[in-house]
């Protein structure tokens, strides 16, 4: 499983570039989280922090570990761990931000400010005959959303 000598450096340099991209994205995400005006736009900044600021540098760390010759065969353990963590973040980050945005929208805790179109609001305003069991959980969300 030995990587050819020249390829080591290619992996390390690509990995370090990805980590640098992650650092810059985390900085941008932090600034955005502080400076953006309302919940949904701030959520956008936060998701930049999870994908560009966590997923990308973890893949970069996996590449650096794969190119680190001195680690011997342990580099594949480190690279594998980094890739698994990255994939977990890749599927969990969007699901978490989706759940946050959905809860905020349903509880009307945040105003949808730069709004072009809001189909979800139109759907919830229209009377739907199917709503039976979900009312209890909706009420709980409303209680939790109040400041």
């Amino acid at each position: 499983m030995a990587v050819p000598a020249g390829l080591d450096w290619v992996l390390v340099i690509i990995g370090e570039i990805m980590i640098a991209v992650g650092v810059i994205s985390d900085l941008i995400a932090a600034i955005g989280l502080l400076r953006f005006p309302n919940f949904y736009v701030r959520l956008h900044a936060a998701t930049i922090g999870t994908i560009w600021g966590a997923f990308v540098p973890l893949i970069g760390a996996a590449l650096v570990a794969a190119g680190a010759d001195f680690l011997g065969r342990y580099r594949w353990f480190m690279a594998g761990g980094a890739v698994i963590t990255a994939v977990l973040i890749l599927i969990l980050g969007p699901a978490g931000s989706h759940a946050l945005a959905r809860a905020a929208h349903r509880s009307k805790a945040a105003v949808v400010q730069p709004k072009v179109v809001d189909h979800l609001e139109e759907d919830s305003r229209a009377p739907s005959p199917k709503e039976e069991g979900g009312e209890e959980s909706e009420a709980e969300v409303k209680e939790g959303g109040e400041p």
């Binding site: 977990l88 599927i91 969990l92 699901a95 989706h98 759940a99 959905r102 039976e132 069991g133 979900g134 959980s137």
Partner: protein, 276 residues
Amino acid sequence: MRRAYKYAVLVAMIVSTLALALAVSAGGLGYALPFPAVRNLAYWYLRTTYNPFMPKFTASAPEAVTAIVWDYRGLDTLFETSVFFLAIIASMALMRGIEVKAPKSINLSKYGMSAIVKTVTKITVAIILAASASIALHGQLTPGGGFQGGATAAVAPLVIIVIFSLYFAVSSGIKKKSMLTLRTLGLLGIGVTSFAVIVAGLILGKAAYVFQNQPKEAAPIGFPSHILGVPMGGTLLFFNIFEFLAVAAGFTIVFLLLSVPEESVRKVLEGGEGHD
């Protein structure tokens, strides 16, 4: 005023962090090394934990922490597990009469979060269970063990309760009674493992101790140290598996009891058995 308070807190945090870093780097937490007598003890543990050349002293597990927890001070860990079990039993006694059950004929898909979150949760629950099993089963080889694995596994039912609803969890088999059975099974296994060698010694007519792992000088029988050529630490593997079951099931019972909605059990909570 509020702004000044904010900045004061920020400055205080920075100053205390810097002061702590300075104090630690200047040796403020004491000497870098403990006393020589304590160092000898640590040296002894590290030397005997996995040492095939000293078969009368070794615990035959490369992971020293697990060897100390379940072999060198195994009785202490047994009492820790008993304390945890008593705490779970006490919480169940406090909430006795509360039945965690789903109402009949409900549409489970109406409850819980959206389909996206549910799909992601299905994937992650499988990963959580696999990771927790590996933490527990590799406890004698790598950092980890039964308690850590069990606590990790208990995240899976918690996530299911939050994202799929309590009713889904109960109707898919995460019930108070079945979890109590699993927990009792785990504790029974810990008891059987700790008495296995002495019972075998009584049958074979040889001397043995309670909580014995490897053969000792005057007690020549013990658990197998290797299975298929992999060091298994004798009793440590079994203790880890049973502790894993006991801890995961115990935490799940508490999560189930705490997530019962108060309205549905108000009668039980107010003690209205005789007068209404």
